[in-house]
Assembly symmetry: D3
Homo-oligomer: 135 residues x 6
């Protein structure tokens, strides 16, 4: 159970409804996820977060599916149940197959392993990396 | 300073040298990074980790650059100085531009933000996500 | 389900009961939370942890509500379900409104974002900060 | 060394300069921190992040010093060297004494301890917390 | 609910069955845990991860119970529900008593506390530690 | 540079000196680490943390070396530079060899990997683990 009351459309004030409308229009759906209904506890937090997500996740130099997979990678690393579920679903909608998810998770697992090893052994950064010289 | 002695090629035993040789051949370089020299404290750990990284990072359903960017995303989330530096360098070698790094970081930042918000407000996963139904 | 048996008052030994009594007296309640019942697996861990929490959370240079909100901020960052729920409840008891929770979460989200960005881009600490000179 | 080139004012384009100007005006200083100079790799990321920080950290239902201390608490939990240094400096500027920092750190330490204990023992959330009933 | 379909033995291909057989033989059980059934989404990820776990957790310079307790310590720190449950169960099978779990958790809690304090106060590493000189 | 002034023995008040004396007597050394000198910003935090560490790390159901290795495992997972260095040094003093450190790190790496995988794939806990039934 969320630690705040989820704000349903019919109970929302004008500012919140405007954001909800934009979420549904952008995503071509008639449903607003619980995440946004929880953020609505503070309408400005809702608006700012949604504007950020909309801007960041729009196709740019990286395509939309790559962006969703990066989002899943971060969420898996943080162990955020909500975000893993919502962004895995979104990535599948955008074309991620089981094989791609398998490879994504293999990298996430490997990166978490070597992160712990590099930290645990306190390995010093090679000067070649820092110098921007990359061989 | 690493908490173990880095093992240089000339001081390495046969098993370690074999892995070093494979690293240099695969990466087409004559240098072995400090990370591997630290892992050589336990030759089996070195071999297994290298085999894993080589297998995971080879092009598959995801291309090689996408894989490096996912690696950077995890490393940034964990704040692993060594891995951020080494994999950002590797991603640049594979074609990541400043613009792509900018977008990558924007997603990493946003994901860390919404992960904390979803956890902090204890938002319940929408049944639509769990059902695999994605609208 | 906890990975240890929760120790109920009637099954507790003298040392554990003494801590339970102090918890209930300090908090003016007749209930002991599951957290303490789980720690009772090791009476000394229970006693030491409770003494620490009691001392740390008592009003001092920071007031009691500010302290609870800081506790929530850390717990949200770690994604600890139990602690988020218990300390959000405690903060509300001490006067935290929805508006305050909204602002608290906005900071928690923003800090997690900029932490990932500063780490991900490996930004060097400005010498002005280190020098204690703050402009 | 940052993994991107820091963008100095004299090398910045119009959009970046505008943000830099607003940072300096808002903070009443003639210096822009390295963090912002690194974000300038993507002007929109710079602008959006600054707008977010400015909005979130402005006094509201919580005062400005409390907000900085919450920022420090998150940054310490994540171990983000840059953010710990910059926000501790900012909190001191706003009046945080050594005694207040001592109490802040005591809470941060205690919260990280009990977070690990509650997770490690898999303690179930008391129904009283979930119900919003707080005794 | 897992974000992938769990692969049951009867639906598995030859490569996956071979790994399942080795898991059951090594562990002297006729059951394969959900974790492995989820990894089977990518047979190579399944094989590699299992080979790694089997090799790492076999008795060596550290005994098998010590290894499981270290696994629990990491999992508790990360707050990974699945791994905490599975490795606490495994550790108990190998002889971990409630008293030992209590001490293990006391260390995990204390280490998470002092980690946050050392980071939060940005304590510099004593040269004596770095020099390998340990007094 | 620490964000607080390190308190040297000659500048310390009576309460702080008493803790310093106990640290040096317990550890049979004439040096106090930077960590304690930083905590002395709040004498009660110093005293309480030291009492906790002394009590938790004393030999009990687990021996002293096992305890230090668990401490290193947590610190590596959190990436705490100070604690990794100080507790690796302490573990070596108590008899940890390079081979043992190698195995320790192999487990830490593997656990961080499977933690991310179990979270990332949202694997459900097997009822056998929860039931305490362990096969």
């Amino acid at each position: 159970m969320a630690t705040v009351q989820l704000v349903e459309y019919e109970d929302a004030d004008q500012a919140v409804r405007q954001t909800y409308d934009d979420i549904m229009a952008t995503r071509k759906t008639d449903r607003v996820n619980n995440f946004w209904k929880a953020l609505a506890v503070q309408p400005e937090l809702l608006r700012r977060t949604w504007e950020g997500v909309k801007s960041v996740m729009a196709p740019g130099f990286l395509d939309s599916l790559t962006k969703e997979m990066i989002y899943v990678a971060v969420s898996a690393t943080n162990g955020c149940e909500y975000c893993i579920n919502s962004h895995t679903a979104a990535a599948r909608l955008k074309g991620m197959t089981d094989e791609m998810l398998g490879e994504l998770m293999a990298i996430v697992g490997m990166a978490n392993q070597t992160n712990a090893l590099a930290d645990g052994l306190q390995v010093e950064v090679d000067s070649a990396f820092r110098a921007g010289g990359l061989e």
